[in-house]
Subunit: 189 residues, 2 copies
DNA sequence: TGCCAACCGGAGGCTACCTCCGTATTGTTG
DNA sequence: CAACAATACGGAGGTAGCCTCCGGTTGGCA
């Protein structure tokens, strides 16, 4: 636990507030995501905003503390099961615990996903446009006999994406990689 | 283009401001990510904040417009190449264009990644803790002869993760899935 | 030129961020 | 148990961003 500075133990009131803040932060982050209002967390913990900032100088510090606490809980559950449950049952129970935790975490992002999905027609439209554009360049190369006839526009896009990933760390090799790709696109003689 | 309402064409000043906003938004989002200040975008475009909100009622609307514009540019490049460059060269050039765009986009997130990496010791520590915890439950099951001896703690964690993914849409099947997993963990007779 | 619909700008009310310092609480020592 | 550091608290206050609303301005058309 990081409720001690590594030196003297925290004063009683300090420790109490630290724990309240952590508990409220956990709830708020769950409800509103990583952008939850720090002032509201302090408010709900019945604590001044200054106190929050003293214990957690940074939003990231608070997020880390919450994360760390959740991990501690999962670990504690394992040790508890190892002592109280029959071996196989214990293992199964713990796997279930972890799985549920992961589900809950993933659920969080779905609020954001819903917003994006709502507007996804834009993305669909854009994708269609780009495929059409890819089609014109590709068709022309195919008609000139320099590209395999079975290539589809989406293949071109995927290759471009692959190239961007491959050449990210070594931009000086981009040209070489591109030449490999272009070789691969040519019809077999 | 969405610079028309689908009805009458925009007034000259409206169109001018729309385009300035779009240009500045592109720069700001590139520099500061999706959380860039809308007021600063308006300021840099030399336009009142009200004007920004009239054209783009929502942060998402502005982001979508920027995205759409970038896609239009990529598509335009394809049509241009199809008319001016030899077929094969045109195809290669376009693949390169797309690849570079994807690289630039990916570079954006690295600012955020740097922050996270900086604090990644926390995550490493947590991961170690959890593996240790997994170890205790697993070892016990192995000693009791109900789990294969070649299982490692990380395998347990991965299975738990897989279970969470698999059971997300059908929580009622979780128990059944778990029983499959547990069967798989048992030593071969 | 004159008119009106379309458009502009930014003040204003709100919330959140983060800092700073006077005040209050704790626990330790005589 | 009293008194005093050391420690911790709280929230005012200055800044900035969000978004709305409306009096004033401008462009385009007759």
């Amino acid at each position: 636990m990081s409720t001690t500075t590594g030196q003297r133990p925290m004063r009683a009131d300090a420790r109490r507030n630290y724990e309240r803040l952590l508990a409220e932060a956990k709830v708020s982050f769950r409800e509103h995501g990583a952008d939850a209002s720090l002032e509201e967390i302090a408010r709900r913990a019945g604590v001044g905003i200054g106190t929050l900032y003293r214990h957690f100088p940074t939003r990231l510090a608070l997020q880390e503390a919450v994360y760390r606490d959740e991990m501690d809980q999962l670990a504690a559950k394992a040790y508890e099961l190892a002592e109280t449950a029959p071996p196989e049952e214990g293992l199964a129970a713990w796997i279930l615990t972890i799985s549920e935790y992961a589900c809950r975490k993933r659920g969080l992002t779905q609020t954001l996903k819903a917003v994006i999905d709502l507007h996804s027609e834009t993305f669909i439209r854009c994708h269609e446009d780009i495929e059409r554009a890819a089609g014109t360049v590709l068709t022309r190369a195919q008609e000139a006999g320099t590209a395999r006839p079975d290539l589809r526009p989406r293949d071109v896009l995927r290759l471009a994406h692959a190239l961007s990933v491959a050449s990210e760390r070594a931009p000086e090799d981009t040209e070489l990689l591109l030449s490999f790709i272009m070789d691969g696109l040519r019809p077999r003689p």
